[in-house]
Symmetry: C2
Subunit: 487 residues, 2 copies
């Protein structure tokens, strides 16, 4: 009890810019296993959002591999080690043949930053094309091209550099070109046109494109699946302009789509550089860049060597190898396909019965529910989405929301999520959507709007506490204690 | 045997820009314990260079803590967890009281990049002052201000941005102002003057300084200890200019100096932002930024939240806590002091007996030997340094060399390095220096010079193999096999 209080106090002091889930009433998770997380009272939560602990929390094969190697050797990467070589080899085997060179790093941010360096030295181009709503990482070079973050900076100290060019987000439900206005076949071309226009402008300014960078499916941008043919057509245009294509698979890779290991592959695309991360270590910090022989040669020829202290260390690589083993041995891609089919059917049933659900989109273990106040105007149901996430948590189901209006319910569960879990999730959603339809959602003032955007999660309205759950009541008490003691 | 061959072949394909130690004849390390590393034949090497496995390779307390937590929970940092809070608290306790806010990240590069963001949002300044020879990390924003890397890029695709200003490296032995020309007391002021000049020029251009960033002792730059008073005077000037000071303790922190936990503290300085990394996880990827309440508030107010997927995850923090425990319980700072005194005496004895040793500098577990061809001209003995490192390895002692001329022998051993180990090291060095003095070092052509700089390690001359060691002979055979089979 004292400890939880201690944490609340300290967190205020220590980590003011950290994004916690359920910030107004954060969860203290003590243990986790498979698709379940357990709080300090031992109460289970169904985890529908953890795309990091990819093969299941604390998977014994992964834990065992990491611990075994930790006992033996965990040095920096200045020495030869079998694990590094084997993991590189195994990763290359999952990729198209041209993608055969691997650099190991510690995070998706480090991977995408390195990808930009590779592209720059290979093409000698300076200009970068990225998508609206993109998020590629938290370091300076990536905030530059991540409007998901950049658009919210209000102090004017970090603005889009001139060399970054933002193409329309190919969101056929809520983007510039919509399925209501154009036949689906035409939508891909319209969004490709946005990229082509940028290339034209860059060339007109006598500059050269370095790269196009995009997630193979956009995650933070609102669980966006691109219209058929979009990505391969963009890749073709970009390559024709002498630039390279970077497929960011940090959030969406490692079999999440079910049919393929990589989402770009599922779309029949061949990138020049692939960045991979989050799921790769099942929670352990490891990521990588995979590229072609030619691009790696250009980078080698630039004059400096790349060195990453921890990147590719024996423990990280042992864990990476174990994750690949588990994906195969536990048949997790097959599971993603199976669960994906159930999600598709059940979520579309929800859409039939609830006007709140404007759009259902997804594949395998990657789904989004775009909640709307009105199906014709598609006005985002931001407050309703906040309520859904809060009520789901109270029902011991962990969900999150995202997209430019924070109205898209995100599903990106560990890959061991079962058909029964999917059924539970949909049942809970059905109940919560019914509550909303019946006017049981508490009324409150609108979210404040800054710079034409709704505030991010941190500023979401505080919902009244639901006292029906022991856990919540317990926490409420603690908050009161805190006030008594420290005010 | 086949495996080693396999590794050699694959590494050529997989990781062309990676810096291996002993590139021409790399070591395959299989196990490590304390200050010893073991190759695949079980032969021991005394590790004098690993500043990552700080408290000793595979320290049981650290391994145990990591494994225990891996079995329980290793999720991203979206939830409360005791480990995160406790580690933040413990780190803050080692810092001056004003440095009380902690951000957890995965690497020194991520830490320094975040430090630049904090400085920019807090000061609203755009200009950065860094030191000649600096190395602060491998991401784009840090290569920008790391001439250690930047000066070697030959394809023109990464040049110093205008907002980066480079002050003279305060190296009193080999820098612009030397101990031969000025009394030691004056040297600090002369080097501070270089920073003041830059501040003056920035102000004259009507721009504002954001930060000064420097390692508290320069590591890759050649094991440089700053003249007394230098750092605190620079900090004063920078603060007077409305900017903040970033102390990069990634390589030199966590008690390495012996007297203090942090090298800035040993120099009586108070930075505004401190970045810490490498030793923090004893090989596990964890790093952090520690700053003041005011700077953290400015960052919070900039409009976006900081989120780092793995940063501060329960396993990383369990390991970080264990490292702090071991530093205390194993009395590693006391050990650094004790070994440091022996190193001081013994290395200076070496200097007395070998003209090759131009300068001995260091403290605690951080030492540099600046090798010279001539003590008056101080011409760098680059080839001799390469020979020393190679011969030391053949004598099962792992050393490295660095500095702008690659002529500085670096010592930065795990903190459990003993007085006996120090004596062994110095004995071996004595023997190798004697070989060189007696003309036993093989002759060869000079290192190639590009852009007025000697090439980095990768292009060092290939020394003839010493066949006296079974290990080396073994590897030689493998190389021949490779040639037979694959050419």
């Amino acid at each position: 009890m004292a400890q939880n209080l201690f944490i609340s106090i300290i967190l205020l002091k220590i980590w003011p810019s950290c994004t916690l889930f359920f910030k107004s009433d954060p969860l203290k998770i003590d243990e986790a296993s498979g698709q379940y997380m357990y709080d300090e009272k031992g109460q289970a939560y169904l985890d529908c959002i953890n795309n990091v602990c990819h093969v299941g929390h604390c998977h014994p094969t992964v834990v065992e591999a990491g611990c075994k190697q930790m006992h033996k050797l965990n040095t920096n990467s200045r020495f030869l080690h079998d694990n590094l070589v084997m993991l590189a080899q195994r990763l290359v085997e999952t990729m198209p043949p041209s993608l055969c060179m691997v650099y190991f790093v510690n995070s998706g941010s480090e991977a995408n930053d390195l990808a930009l360096r590779l592209a720059r030295h290979h093409t000698k181009g300076s200009e970068i094309i990225t998508l609206e709503r993109a998020y590629h990482g938290h370091v300076l070079s990536l905030i530059d091209l991540s409007t998901y973050k950049l658009n919210h900076i209000t102090d004017g100290m970090h603005t889009k550099p001139d060399f970054v060019h933002i193409a329309e987000c190919p969101d056929t439900y809520r983007g510039k070109y919509r399925d209501t206005d154009y036949p689906m076949k035409q939508l891909a071309d319209l969004y490709v046109g946005s990229v082509n226009d940028i290339i034209g402008k860059i060339h007109a300014a006598d500059k050269q494109v370095s790269c196009f960078i995009a997630e193979s499916m956009q995650s933070c941008g609102g669980q966006i699946l691109y219209p058929e043919g979009y990505l391969s057509k963009v890749f073709k245009s970009v390559r024709a302009a002498g630039a390279v294509n970077i497929a960011d698979e940090v959030q969406v890779g490692f079999g999440r789509v079910g049919t393929h290991m990589w989402s770009f592959d599922a779309q029949g695309c061949l990138p020049d550089i692939v960045t991979i991360g989050k799921p790769m270590g099942n929670g352990h910090p490891i990521a990588a860049v995979v590229t072609t022989r030619e691009i790696a040669a250009s980078f080698s020829a630039c004059g400096i060597e790349y060195f990453n202290t921890y990147g590719g260390n024996p423990v990280s690589c042992a864990i990476g190898l174990a994750v690949l083993d588990v994906i195969k041995n536990d048949k997790l891609m097959e599971n993603a396909l199976k669960v994906g089919k159930v999600m598709d059917a059940k979520l579309n049933e929800l859409k039939s019965s609830h006007q709140l659900v404007g759009d259902v989109r997804g594949v395998g273990m990657f789904w989004g529910l775009d909640l709307v106040k009105d199906r014709t105007s598609r006005e985002p149901a931001t407050d309703e989405a906040a309520y859904v996430v809060k009520r789901a948590k109270e029902n011991h189901v962990l969900l999150s929301r995202d997209g430019p209006h924070d109205n898209v319910i995100k599903f990106k569960a560990p890959m061991c999520f079962s058909v029964e879990n999917a059924e539970t999730l949909v049942e809970k959603l059905d109940l919560i959507f019914t509550e909303i339809a019946e006017g049981k959602m508490p009324q409150h003032s609108e979210c404040k709007v800054a710079n034409g955007k709704t505030y991010r999660r941190g500023a979401a309205p505080e919902w009244p506490k639901d006292l029906s759950l022991v856990l919540t009541q317990e926490k409420q008490t603690k908050v009161e204690k805190k006030n008594t003691r420290f005010n």
